[in-house]
């Protein structure tokens, strides 16, 4: 067994980096913070590779064991319920370790050039380190509550990084939105945790999954029989947990924060809002997959439908957006939809667990090509100083490396063989085909859309029209620091598909042989290619074909362009309902009724005091009369009434 210190070091190195740069960065490491952070992360990445190698070469009878590398009790609620901080090592966490450290490393390197000269350079790296730490903690979590803790922390680092340009009002609004929307989803997660912990009596993943997948256990019986609104408690719990996942993974209808999150620096978008954090929801579902699949298949089906719907929904919007980062954001949402419905259609164990493997595989490849896309987009933005497609065009000669790598990524995401996306997507579609036909067709359509909007993006950036002349050419493509990650990721995006993923990751830990069906792949590949062709026709040269199409679609186009008015709906709910119908009345009530009562008591006292002042009339005879009346009052009471 490997040394737990190595595993512990993987998240702790970024943490150390965060503390060092966060506390002293501004003063002592103003220039060197980027290098320090990168080196730390390089070490972490090296450790991850080592751990992964070590883990995957020590399969126990063909099954990868779930082991707890280390665990400390952090907070003990009761004898059985406690938050433990630990590291759970299993195929998916090891895979995630690799993904997170690798992409993060790429982004660190890339940022050396991208963020250079920024006043808060050190702070930026501190935040990146914080994020990396939190994300690593999240994937290593051995405890349901631990994952929640890191869940919140990645939310925080996402918030900090989106709002990195804090003096831009739009960035401020975006980071608030991201935090609050995911927070709202986390509320579901939290309640889900409470429900699960109550019925299973534990927070530990292994025990929890064990208890909740054993139909004979007493806890299980309770959880299934106890119901609310006709749904069993365990289903509620899992569904609520999934809400948390859906929030973080920007699934419909909790996706609204993701496009806005593009206000952050582009490398951040690549790391957090494309490759790692947003797939946390997928990871969570995967983590609890046995419970989903064995105990609450109905909830898993919901997961599938939410994923499928989000996939096509986002793909449609992506076709209409003009901000390149927003296109990528919707594409991310769409791809995560793929991963989720892959899980949704999957079953537990053996061949039936293909969806699970496919989902993880897609997560893996997606991390490569989506990070690449964002970093490429970052290079473009860096060059043209704009996010808008209309400011771009014909950049292929000016940015050759970016162009090539971007193209590779586009091909990968469009599912063109032999790029990475093809393999993972094909597996997903196969799983969907076996599991749920409707979802399969939706997915097929979505792949077509994916190919279309990606190449719309590609052509608009690199072809379309001649480059505008006002770009300052002196900084070129951004130098080695920016190009190296692009190239490395491009290699990943091109080649990752050949990894026999099923050998490593499967729903039950056993190796899963993936078969390649040529006949089956034909349909998605053809659809993808036709999407690319359509994009080629419409966007290769500057023309008004696209505008004509948009006009002919009329209201539909407008609706899609405005993202189905979901943002407006949310705005209405928050501004009009939350603030005006709850907040304002509450504040009013407090000021006028509760406070008013207190003041009224005071005023009433003063008033009574003024009313009875006549008693003290200053006339001695009246005083005596009161005296006498008092005597007679007492006589009356005690001689006649009392007895």
């Amino acid at each position: 067994m490997m040394n737990p210190v190595y595993i512990a070091l993987i998240p702790l190195l970024p943490l150390a980096g965060f503390l060092m740069l966060g506390l002293f960065g501004r003063k002592f490491f103003k220039e060197t913070s980027g290098i320090i952070a990168t080196l730390l992360l390089l070490t972490a990445f090296g450790l991850s590779v080592y751990v992964a190698y070590d883990y995957f070469t020590h399969a126990n009878g063909g099954v990868y064991p779930k082991t707890i590398a280390f665990q400390y009790t952090w907070l003990r609620f009761t004898d059985t319920l406690s938050i433990d901080m630990g590291a759970l090592i299993d195929p998916i966490s090891v895979m995630m370790l690799l993904v997170v450290t690798f992409v993060s490393l790429m982004v660190h390197i890339y940022s050396l050039a991208y963020v250079k000269g920024e006043e808060r350079f050190a702070t930026y790296y501190a935040y990146l380190m914080l994020f990396t730490f939190s994300m690593l903690g999240l994937v290593l979590s051995s405890n349901l509550f631990q994952i929640y803790i890191f869940w919140e922390l990645v939310g925080l680092s996402s918030f900090l990084l989106i709002g990195f340009y804090y003096n831009k009002p739009s960035a401020v609004a975006a980071c608030k939105k991201a935090f609050i929307v995911t927070r709202f989803a986390d509320l579901g997660f939290l309640i889900g945790i409470l429900i699960l912990s109550f019925y299973s009596g534990t927070l530990d993943f292994a025990t929890l999954i064990n208890t909740l997948t054993t139909p004979e256990s007493a806890a299980m019986k309770n959880a299934v029989t106890a119901s609310f609104l006709g749904v069993s408690a365990i289903s509620w719990g899992m569904a609520l947990v999934f809400i948390g996942g859906a929030g973080k993974s920007a699934m419909f209808p909790l996706h609204i924060w993701l496009p806005d999150a593009m206000e952050g620096p582009t490398p951040v978008s690549a790391l957090i809002h494309a490759a790692t954090m947003v797939v946390a929801g997928v990871f969570l579902v995967a983590r609890l997959f046995p419970v989903f699949a064995l105990t609450t298949p109905a909830v898993l089906e919901i997961v599938g439908w939410v994923g499928a719907f989000s996939a096509i929904f986002a793909a449609m919007i992506a076709c209409t957006q003009t901000d390149i980062k927003r296109v990528l954001a919707y594409s991310t949402m769409s791809q995560i939809g793929f991963m989720l419905f892959a899980l949704g259609v999957s079953k537990y164990g053996g061949e039936n667990g293909l969806g699970f493997t496919a989902s993880m595989f897609h997560l893996f490849t997606h991390a490569m090509f989506k990070a690449l896309l964002f970093l490429g987009a970052g290079a473009v933005i860096h060059y043209v100083h704009s996010n808008e497609m209309k400011d771009m065009g014909g950049l292929r000669k000016l940015l050759p490396i970016t162009h090539i790598t971007f193209l590779i990524a586009c091909l990968a995401i469009a599912g063109v063989p032999p790029f990475a996306g093809f393999f993972s997507k094909e597996e997903i579609l196969l799983a969907a085909f076996n599991g749920n036909k409707t979802i399969y067709y939706v997915a097929l359509l979505t792949s077509g859309l994916t190919a279309f909007y990606m190449f719309r993006l590609y052509f608009n950036i690199f072809w379309s029209k001649e480059p505008a002349t006002q770009h300052d050419k002196h900084h070129g493509e951004g130098g080695f620091a920016m190009m190296m990650p692009l190239v490395l990721l491009a290699i990943g995006a091109a080649a990752a598909g050949f990894i026999p993923f099923g050998n490593f990751v499967s729903s039950d830990g056993a190796k899963l042989e993936s078969h390649f069906h040529l006949a089956f792949s034909a349909a998605p590949v053809l659809i993808g290619l036709s999407g690319i062709l359509l994009a080629f026709v419409m966007y290769k040269k500057q023309s008004n074909k696209a505008t004509n199409l948009a006009n002919s679609l009329g209201g539909i186009y407008k609706t899609v362009y405005h993202k189905f008015y979901i943002d407006e709906l949310y705005l209405f709910i928050t501004k009009k309902i939350l603030f005006n119908l709850i907040g304002r009345p509450a504040a009013w009530f407090d000021k006028n009724v509760v406070d008013g009562l207190v003041n009224a008591t005071g005023n009433a006292t003063t008033m009574i005091s003024a009313k009875i002042k006549g008693m003290q009339s200053g006339r001695v005879q009246q005083y005596a009369a009161y005296f006498f009346a008092g005597v007679f009052g007492l006589v009356l009471i005690f001689l006649y009434i009392w007895k």
């Binding site: 907070l75 609620f77 804090y166 309640i191 907040g583 509760v594």
Partner: protein
């Protein structure tokens, strides 16, 4: 360890402050006193751990002196984990409060004297094991608050000071009646908490005295609907005053609710728990929603205190061990957090001369340290892991959820919902003050001075110590809550 030291140091400091010749002397004497007190509290923690390790349970370091034997009043002091946690909280807040008041120019001596008197009351309250002296110390703390707000406050300070003093006195009047009810119902005329807790008070006494005591203490800790002194009082008070008010004074109430009302009257606690839960859930949500509409930073924190203190009462109302532990944790956490929040608000106000969030913006540029602290404390307030608020709130939720039954579930979910609303108002406040474009007049404002940094550091240390490693606090509190819960379940 001799607990009377905890009272002696503040008294000595107060006397020395009165004897000081100039402002500098006053400040340094207070600073020294508060530091010594903090060290003493930490030492107390050390000795307490040592004693616990050797098997001592219950109230440790007890001392009894006969005070008014006719009435059975003894000067009986002692601490358990809960009290110790509160003492540590007080020590942290007092030191920070002394530090942030460094530039009080007006009547400095009196200011510090009152601060120290206030802390004296708090320490006494937490170590009391006799209800009479508990009440004595509870009331000692009222007038310094009145004067602090009335003399050094801002805004409609007289009104706020009056409201605060009167509502708190009203609360303590109810407490007094409740205490007398308990006193006269036992077989023995005693105010001794431990003796009384061993007696079984008659159901009628419990039925009458529990609400009296709970509401009475509840006024101190912003029990809905007796919370209206909180926003006005906090917002009018000078910085250190607000810190003490929210950080220490509101905790007296929570501690009283737990230690006096709930502990002594288990039957009534069960009987009234649903009402407590309803009121505290209302306070949590209602406070949070009301906060959302506030524009003044101090009002924001004050209203959020109502919401946060609701967790304390919710935890008490839930009557499970975890929930009670959570309630105490929330007291400590909220005390540190809100004190720090007020400290930061004070720092901001001192520089910008406004507390309206709409009039600020982009302050991160000119004062990175202060805004970072504002960030951290805001995040603590909205329950971010790694900071104390999260730990406490989660413990309360966990404990609350252990009660089966739809009623408890709904109340817990309602309370959980506040974490979203909290996020809304905290981020709104931070977004408007720290972030966004900076105004011209705020561009050259100085960042925190050494005393402010130290003050923030002290409180932050506490917040992080709980947030990052909650187990020590949990281990400290749990034996205490276990005794209470055993009494509640009749074990």
């Amino acid at each position: 360890m001799n607990l009377l030291l905890l009272l002696g140091i503040p008294l000595l400091t107060a006397v020395l402050v009165l004897m000081s010749r100039n402002q500098q002397q006053v400040k340094w004497v207070s600073f020294a006193g508060a530091s010594v007190q903090l060290i003493l509290s930490l030492a107390l923690y050390y000795y307490f751990q040592k004693a616990s390790a050797s098997g001592a349970t219950g109230m440790l370091f007890q001392q009894t002196y006969s005070w008014f034997p006719t009435w059975g009043i003894n000067f009986h002091v002692g601490v358990d984990g809960i009290a110790l946690a509160m003492i540590l909280l007080t020590a942290f807040v007092v030191l920070a409060g002394v530090l942030v008041s460094w530039n009080v120019e007006k009547m400095t001596k009196e200011f510090y004297f009152l601060l120290i008197l206030l802390s004296f009351g708090a320490y006494g309250f937490f170590i009391s094991l006799d209800l009479f002296i508990l009440f004595f110390f509870l009331e000692i703390a009222v007038i310094p608050k009145y004067l602090l707000i009335g003399i050094w406050g801002s805004g409609k300070k007289e009104y706020s000071a009056n409201k605060l003093a009167l509502m708190l006195m009203g609360g303590s009047a109810l407490v007094l009646v409740g205490l007398l009810g308990v006193y006269f119902s036992g077989e023995e005329r005693t105010f001794d908490l431990i003796k009384l807790s061993q007696l079984h008070l008659s159901p009628l006494t419990q039925k009458i005295c529990f609400p009296l005591l709970f509401i009475g203490f509840g006024v101190f800790t912003a029990l809905f609907p007796f919370h209206t002194w909180v926003p006005d009082g906090h917002s009018s008070a000078p910085t250190a005053g607000s810190m003490f008010l929210a950080g220490i004074s509101m905790k007296l109430g929570g501690y009283g609710c737990l230690r006096v009302a709930t502990f002594m009257m288990p039957d009534a606690a069960h009987q009234y728990a649903p009402y407590i839960i309803v009121l505290s859930s209302i306070a949590i949500l209602y406070g949070a929603f009301a906060t959302m509409m506030q524009k003044d930073l101090k009002y924001i924190n004050a209203y959020s205190s109502i919401s946060h203190c609701g967790f304390v009462l919710l935890g008490i109302g839930m009557l499970t061990k975890t929930a009670l532990t959570g309630a105490v944790m929330q007291m400590v956490s909220h005390g540190l957090m809100t004190a720090l929040f007020f400290a930061v608000i004070g720092m901001v106000y001192q520089r910008t001369h406004t507390r309206q969030v709409n009039e600020m913006g982009g302050l991160m540029k000119s004062m990175p340290f202060i805004t970072t602290i504002l960030f951290i404390v805001g995040l603590c307030s909205l329950g971010l892991p790694g900071l104390s608020g999260f730990v406490a709130e989660m413990t309360v939720f966990m404990g609350a959820w252990q009660n089966p039954g739809m009623f408890y579930r709904i109340a817990t979910i309602a309370a959980c919902m506040s974490i979203v609303v909290t996020a809304v108002y905290i981020l709104r406040a931070i977004g408007k003050t720290a972030m966004g474009p900076i105004k011209e007049e705020f561009k050259n404002l100085p960042d925190a001075s050494w005393n402010e940094k130290l003050a923030a550091g002290v409180l932050l240390a506490g917040i992080l110590a709980i947030g990052l490693a909650p187990f020590w606090l949990n281990d400290l509190i749990t034996p205490g809550t276990e005794i209470i819960i055993n009494k509640l379940t009749g074990k």
